[in-house]
Structure formats: structure tokens, C-alpha cells
Symmetry: C2
Subunit: 224 residues, 2 copies
């Protein structure tokens, strides 16, 4: 008799408990669906503004290309980036005429860093060096780089290796080592600086007062 | 004569150079203004969806409050959070009837974590314990907590200190130590777990299969 009384009560409790969990699950589905809608709307805003920003970036690029040594000056005025650019690479980057960041059409999938050089530069044949950061289907980041076609005797990365230690690849944290390294590595800090600090506003680094930059006077028009 | 020839050329070059920088600056202003508009539109989407989500969160809270030990079960099924809840705190958190995260109206300014307890709980008089995370004007995070009104002899934080080491405050990384600590500290990982992992979907932790949780069977309705 006691078992007979307990059983229906337990069943009723179980039913109430199950019903509560299902109601919570229903609320959760509504919340999830709103979260998804919000993400889509935010993505749409970002895509729309990318399109609106594009002509201004293009015009900026066009004018910047006319200013001699704009990018090397900008890079050397960046406190961290300047540390990755040894003398020979500074010389090579004098011929960097444009830096462009292009997000993929589906901006969640990645972006490209495009470096456009003076085609007459003494170091390599390439006019554009492109480093792509893709997010693979499994969520893993992957990078793909343009192979550099060095002019004879001009590969300063190989030169270094010949002259010095065999550990160059592991220990060299220079700008061009970063570019040529297609492993996702600690050097990707350079990609972050280019994408998140330089690209949004390069002029602020280009114009940085002498006192704040690592380099001395090399533009000849400072009155001192 | 040579000086006379050089000077106008230099002036013309300087003028072109200055004009280029001004044009770059104009592009930059347009880009900055678009960035600002994009941020405002994204914020507006977030605010709008917060409003749309609110009734579903309220309904969820209402139903959850009817499920005994919902929050302590959820917390104990979270792999990291469970490690911060020693036995006496587990007992106390049996009386946690609701957890709510409320963003400030200007969501950039901060949020509150609200813990609603059974007012008849044996440990303290408070019905709600609130921990606020504010972003101050200077961008520094600041937190403000409800002082706990312990019932006589029930302050398990003070008890610990009496019984054991004087270093409790520094070494204790328990749930209630986190709550009472108003310094922005490493314990704020607990706030992140509550806000970013538990709050968006507590049911997934509540329902987590026994095998994945740290705790054994304590809900009595598993067939084994
Ligand atoms: Ca200079
Ligand atoms: Ca259990
Ligand atoms: Mg450019
Ligand atoms: Mg709730």
C-alpha cells in the first residue's frame, strides 16, 4: 500500500521536473535563435561598412604610393614593429609602395596582407607579396604566402643562414622571416600589428614626432 | 643663382608633400567616421537584441527557480567552476535560486552578477548578493559587492581564517572568496565563466552526463 501511494507521487514529480526542463529548453531555443539573428545582423553591418570604407582605403593607397618611404617610415616609427626590421630589410622596404589588408568576402574566413613593391626593387622579381590568413573548416588558422623570387645573390634570408647559425629559422624574428613563415607562429604578432594597429591609421605612425620614434632624422625636412 | 633655382623647387616639393599628407588625413577622417558609425550601429543591434532576449531570460529564471538544486548542479558540472566550491559552499549554494546577469543600459559600462538565495538559508540574511563590474571613466575596471550579513557562527570564510593560515585571503580561490573580493583579481575568471559560459546556456551544464561531471550521483533519478 505504501509503495502504491509513493509511486504515483514520484511519477507526478518526475513529470513536473521533466516539464520544467523542457520549458527551460524552449526558452533556451528562443535565446539561441535571437543570438543567431544578432550575429547575422552584426555581420551584415560589418560587411556593409567594409564596402563603404573600401573606396576611401583605395584612395588612401593611391596617395600614399606617391609619398616616398611612407611605409618604411611608418613601420620604423612603430615601437614593436621597428625592432623586427634589420638594416638590409629597412633598405628593401624603402621600395614598399603599398600595404593593403583585404578581408575575405565572408569576413569570418580570413584576410590577406598585400605588400606592393616597386617592380624595379633590387631584391626580388615579385611586384606583390601576399600573405593569406585563412580559417579552415576545422577552425584552425592556416597561412599561405607568395614565394619570393630573389634576384641573384640578393636573398638576405639565405645569406644570413649561410653566414651564421643553422638555427636562423627558429631564432630570427625579422619582418621577412615572418612573411616567409607559413606556420602559425609567435611571429604572427607582426600580422596583428599590421592589421589592427598600422592599417586602421598608418598616418599616425608616419607623423609620429621624432622623440617618440626609434629612428633618427631621415626625412631631411625637420628644422634642427 | 643655383640657390635661387633650388629654393622654389624645394618649396614646390614641400607643398606637394604637405598636400599628399592632407589628402591622406582626409581619407583617414572619412574612414574614422565610418568606423564610428559602424560601432554605433553594432551597439544599437546589441541593445535591441538585449531587449528582445530579456523576457526569455526572465521566463527561464522563473522556471529554473522551481527546479531544486538547479544552480549548484549546474556549477558542479562545470569542470573549472566546480573546483572553486568546497563542501560547505556547496551546501550554501543549494539555496541559490537564481543567477542573473544584467548588462548596464549602456552595455559598454559594465554588468551585474545577481545571486538570489532562499531567504531562509542558514548562512546569511541577504536575499540577493550582487557583484557589479563597472568600467570607470579612465577605462579601469572596478567591482562593487553586497556585504554579506552572516548569521551568527555561519561565516565560513572567517571560520577558515580562524582555524587555519593567515594567508587565506591570498590563497583561497573559492567561489565566495571571489564574490567578496572587490579587487580586480585573477579570481575574476569566475565572473567570466558565469557570464560567458554558464549564463548563455546553463541547461547544457545542468544536463551534462554523469561521466563528464566531477560529482557522483546526487539527484537520485539515474537508473543504475
Ligand atoms: Ca624621421
Ligand atoms: Ca548527478
Ligand atoms: Mg595603402
Ligand atoms: Mg535564471
Amino acid at each position: 500500500a505504501e509503495e502504491g501511494e509513493l509511486s504515483p507521487v514520484a511519477t507526478e514529480d518526475d513529470a513536473l521536473y521533466q516539464a520544467a526542463l523542457e520549458e527551460i529548453d524552449d526558452c533556451q531555443s528562443q535565446i539561441d535563435s535571437l543570438n543567431e539573428q544578432a550575429s547575422e545582423e552584426i555581420l551584415a553591418v560589418e560587411v556593409r561598412f567594409n564596402t563603404l570604407r573600401k573606396p576611401h582605403y583605395s584612395k588612401r593607397a593611391e596617395i600614399i604610393a606617391k609619398v616616398p618611404r611612407f611605409w618604411i617610415t611608418t613601420f620604423m616609427n612603430h615601437p614593436q614593429l621597428s625592432l623586427t626590421i634589420p638594416e638590409e630589410q629597412q633598405h628593401c622596404l624603402q621600395d614598399l609602395q603599398n600595404l593593403l589588408i583585404e578581408e575575405f568576402e565572408d569576413i569570418k574566413n580570413g584576410y590577406k596582407i598585400i605588400l606592393k613593391f616597386n617592380p624595379n626593387n633590387p631584391y626580388f622579381e615579385n611586384e606583390s607579396l601576399i600573405k593569406e590568413y585563412r580559417l579552415e573548416g576545422n577552425g584552425q588558422p592556416k597561412s599561405v604566402v607568395t614565394p619570393i623570387k630573389w634576384k641573384p645573390g640578393k636573398n638576405f634570408l639565405a645569406d644570413n643562414a649561410d653566414r651564421g647559425s643553422r638555427k636562423r629559422k627558429a631564432s630570427d624574428s625579422s619582418f621577412f622571416s615572418w612573411f616567409t613563415d607559413s606556420n602559425h607562429s609567435s611571429l604572427d604578432e607582426i600580422a596583428d600589428i599590421l592589421k589592427d594597429e598600422i592599417w586602421p591609421n598608418p598616418l599616425q605612425f608616419f607623423m609620429m614626432p621624432e622623440a617618440l620614434s626609434e629612428e633618427g632624422d631621415d626625412d631631411g625636412d625637420v628644422e634642427d
